[in-house]
Symmetry: C2
Subunit: 285 residues, 2 copies
Amino acid sequence: MNLNKNTKILIVGLGLMGGSYAIALKKKGYSVGCITRSRESVDFALEKGIIDYGSTTPDPAVIGEADLLVFALYPHVFIDWIEKWQKYLKPGALLTDVTGVKTSVVYKIQALLREDVEFIAAHPMTGREVYGVKNSTDAIFREANYIVTPTAKNTPEAIETAKRLGEELGFARISQLTPEEHDEIIAFVSQLTHCIAVSLMTCNSLDRLEDYTGNSFRDLTRIAHINEDMWSELFLLNKKALLNEMELFQKQFEKLRRSLEEEDLETMKAIMRQSTERRDAFDRG
Amino acid sequence: MNLNKNTKILIVGLGLMGGSYAIALKKKGYSVGCITRSRESVDFALEKGIIDYGSTTPDPAVIGEADLLVFALYPHVFIDWIEKWQKYLKPGALLTDVTGVKTSVVYKIQALLREDVEFIAAHPMTGREVYGVKNSTDAIFREANYIVTPTAKNTPEAIETAKRLGEELGFARISQLTPEEHDEIIAFVSQLTHCIAVSLMTCNSLDRLEDYTGNSFRDLTRIAHINEDMWSELFLLNKKALLNEMELFQKQFEKLRRSLEEEDLETMKAIMRQSTERRDAFDRG
C-alpha cells in the first residue's frame, strides 16, 4: 500500500496520540476516520473537524473501507482487537501502531494476522502529561523522533509507507531499528527516566517544595505525572530490558554515592566530567 | 544597612551569577562595582555597562567604599577572602552571598567576621548550564526562588535587606529558612537531582542517542552538564544531608525495581499514583 491522497486512514483509539495523528493527517488532506470507545471523543472530534467519520464500536463497514489503520491502544487491547475484528479488514490493508514497546507486541500481532494484510510497527516518541483527544495537537511531533521497527516479515513497501507516514505527521527525525534494538533503547531513554522521576517524586515528602525548588527538580519530575495503567503495562512488557537498565543505573548511582561517602574527589569528578562530555556530545548530536 | 539608591554594591566574583546580579542591580539604578580575578571579565563588564568600576585584585579602596558586598565565589575561596581582606571592610557593611550550601559556610564566616560588619546568607536558586559573565542575564531570576538563611547572629534589619535585595533582583518567590533546613531541602531538590542526572548520563553508553530520545531523557539530563569543581565541593560540604537523600532515593528506586522483577502490579501502580498526586500538588503549589 502506498500513501497517497486517496488513502483512507482509520485511527483505532482516539486518545491523545490517536487524536494528534488525526489532526496532522487531516491537515494534509487525508480522509481520516476513527473507532474509539467513547461517544464523547467521537463527538468532540467530529465537531472540531479532526475526523471525517467515527464510530464507538468496531463497525465492519468502517473497518472494511480502511487502507491504513493506526492502532493507538493499550498493547493487550490492541492484540484483542486484532483477534476479534481482523476478519473485516480489507485485503491489502496496512496496519501500523504507536505502541511504546515492540518485541512483545510486534511478533504476536504478525503471527496472528491474516496473510493478506500487513502490520508494520512504529513508535512516535512523543507525548504529553495530559490525556485524551481534547489535548491532542500535532505540535508534539515537531521536535520528536519517529522509529519504524520492521521484522523479517515486512515488505520494503510497508517500511517505506510507515516512514512516509512519519514524514506526513511532521516528525523531526525518522529512523529504523529492529524491535529488540528499539526495546533496549526505550528501556534506557524513556522507561528508566520514568522510573527515576517516579522514585524521586515519592522518596521524600518535604512540604512546600514549590517554594524552594530550582528548575532541576521541576525538569526531573515533569514526567512523574504518569498514567499508571499504561506505564505499568509497558514496563511489564519490556521487563527484561528495563530491569537491565535499572541495574546499570543503580550501579552508577551507588558508585557516585560511595565516592561522596569516602570523599573520593577523583572518582566523583571523573564521573561528572564524563557526564558533561556525554551531554555535550548529545547536544551536538 | 538599608538598601537605597545610594547603596554602593560590590560584587566579588563576576561569573554567571555575579554578572547576573550586576545586570539586575544596574538596571535598578544602583552603583555596582566588582572584584574578580579575570581581566577579561572586568573589561567585558565595563564595556557592556554591567558594572561601574572593576578591579582584578582586592583593592582596599574599592572594598572600603562598599555598603553591600555580594560574594559569588566557591565556598573555600569565599572563606579565604574574608580571612585575608575583611580588614578593609567599611564599618557597618553588609555581606551576603550566593553559595549553594549554608550550614558549612555561614557559621564559619560569621565566626571569623569582624563585629562591626554583618553577613546574611542567601541562596538564589537559579543558574544556567553555561558559565561566566558573558552568559549572565537577569532573566534567570524571573521564575526562580530566593532563600534567605539567617542565624541567631543576624539582625532583623539585615534579614529585611537581604529580602529586599531578592525583590530588587526580580525573584518570583522569596523565603526564609534556617541554614539546616536549607541544606536538607537543597540536598533533595538540587543536589540529589544532579546526582541522578549525572548517573543517568554515565550509566549506559548507547550510541546515537539523539536519534531515539523523547523529551524525557533530554529533560532529565539537562543538568548533567556540570561544573565538576563547584559541584564536588558543594556535595562534600553537604555530605551528611546529601547521603541521606541519596539513600532515600535508592530505597524507593529499589522498591520500584523489585515490583517490576516480581511483577507486583499493585505496588508498582501505587507508587505511580502517589507520584502523580504529588506532582499535581507541586504544580498547584
